[in-house]
Symmetry: C2
């Protein structure tokens, strides 16, 4: 998907919501678990059906699928195939946090962009340029590079200040990686719990999309993220996972997920209107 296509989808749906498919076998409603050969896939299908008109992206979190082995990997592949076939306007993100030496990153890229048909993969920057660029060789596919994450551990290294440039590590990641790709094939992860830093981040990467986790369960505020993070092509994908997919653990989980997604979409619609983007 191109950046322009993504922006068109955002305008049409009046939403920049990404639904995180952190599907945990231990949290799936009992009636699905008892009546399905592939409960993770069936749960995902129901969630996607209940939310597809309200969001522009889905983000399966690879760890949740890998944690149950072959069955999980199979459910992941089926989920991506299902979304691609039924909702071709959705941007599908492999939240995988990969990154390794060049020949190995090339293998990961083959996994997510060749074998499976994801639009984007999250990548960790620690190993530098040659760990990232192999993901950028696929047309209209995206790297979403970790910059400033939403967790407590973000403070351990990401805010370290460079003695030479005075840039903090996440700023150095933003600056250096701009020579690896463009705003047409790279995005950055910026946690919603660090919304006040979005102004600085926007001054470094004014054109890039930002993937923002941490709204909801992790405590970030959508209004703040939008205030400091929006650009003239929206430039934001805001993710919510647990708040939506586990809104209810009973047979009404689809309606509950729809309602939670609807709340966020309505708020996003107002934000986009107030900014004159729609």
């Amino acid at each position: 998907m191109t950046k322009q296509e993504l922006f068109e989808n955002i305008k049409r749906k009046e939403s920049f919501l990404c639904v995180g498919l952190d599907t945990d076998i231990n949290k799936i409603p009992e009636h699905i678990l008892n009546n399905s050969d592939d409960p993770i896939f069936d749960f995902n299908v129901q969630i996607v059906k209940a939310t597809a008109d309200l969001c522009v992206a889905y983000k399966p979190n690879l760890a949740f699928y890998e944690s149950i082995g072959l069955a999980g990997w199979d459910a992941l592949e089926r989920t991506v195939d299902y979304i691609r076939a039924e909702y071709p306007d959705q941007f599908i993100i492999a939240d995988a946090k990969r990154g390794d030496i060049g020949n190995t990153s090339a293998m990961y890229a083959r996994s997510f962009f060749g074998n499976m048909d994801f639009d984007a993969v999250t990548v960790a920057p620690y190993m530098g340029e040659d760990s990232v660029t192999p993901f950028l060789t696929y047309e209209n596919k995206w790297v979403i590079l970790l910059a400033l994450t939403s967790n407590k551990g973000a403070f351990d290294f990401q805010l370290m200040k460079d003695a030479d440039s005075s840039d903090r590590l996440f700023e150095k990641v933003l600056k250096k990686s701009q020579s690896w790709g463009t705003a047409e094939n790279m995005m950055y992860v910026v946690g919603a719990t660090k919304a006040e830093m979005l102004t600085e981040i926007r001054s470094i990467v004014p054109e890039h999309f930002l993937l923002v986790p941490g709204v909801g369960a992790q405590g970030g505020s959508l209004a703040e993220v939008a205030e400091y993070g929006l650009n003239d092509q929206c430039g934001l994908l805001v993710n919510s996972s647990r708040q939506i997919i586990y809104a209810s653990s009973d047979s009404d989980f689809k309606d509950a997920a729809h309602d939670e997604a609807r709340k966020l979409q309505a708020e996003m619609s107002d934000i986009l209107k107030n900014r004159g983007l729609i």
Copy 2:
């Protein structure tokens, strides 16, 4: 496996060799590819049989398995089960470079230590403490944290100097992470191409094992690594992948792999003797 058990295996085998199972479906000898339902697993079994007496660890590189989807994941699980059953003295490393927010890292830990029976997993430090500690809750299982990697991109961020402490990023990772685990459940990745920096690294982590990739295809020197990196419990696992497993692409690949592993083991045996460790 405990640190003491690993050291005993090293002494008994006169080797601190780790064989990297970067098994690429496109590089498997034709006679295996044509006569097997699971050529990756069958290739791995032959490589393990040919090298098990010469090494103390195996390191499947997850990317190579993931890149072919379900069949790859299946071959990976079978490979780990095979090594665990037939060669219980081998230390098995998931080279996965994982790391995410706490609840997600906990899922990855379940994947490698619960669902599969790896001894260790490589983890990227960018997201800090809560991305690493969930892996440390399994008894006698290990985190191998990236410190200074063997690739060109290592220079992009890992050598950045902290304005406050003057530590470079990799030194900060070494220092900070020592409060997360101990030398009994953490190791560090230090590339062989940076052997001259092992003296500084040893001054920070004198007791920890270091996993050293980059000998062979990537150009690192075993003698240099040993000179600067050995400690009184050996403290090194030196990995070689392509040089061993692709020593020949013909039907003699087992013998060729054995011979390459033998060369490294013989060199390691001399090194261990010269240091008085055996």
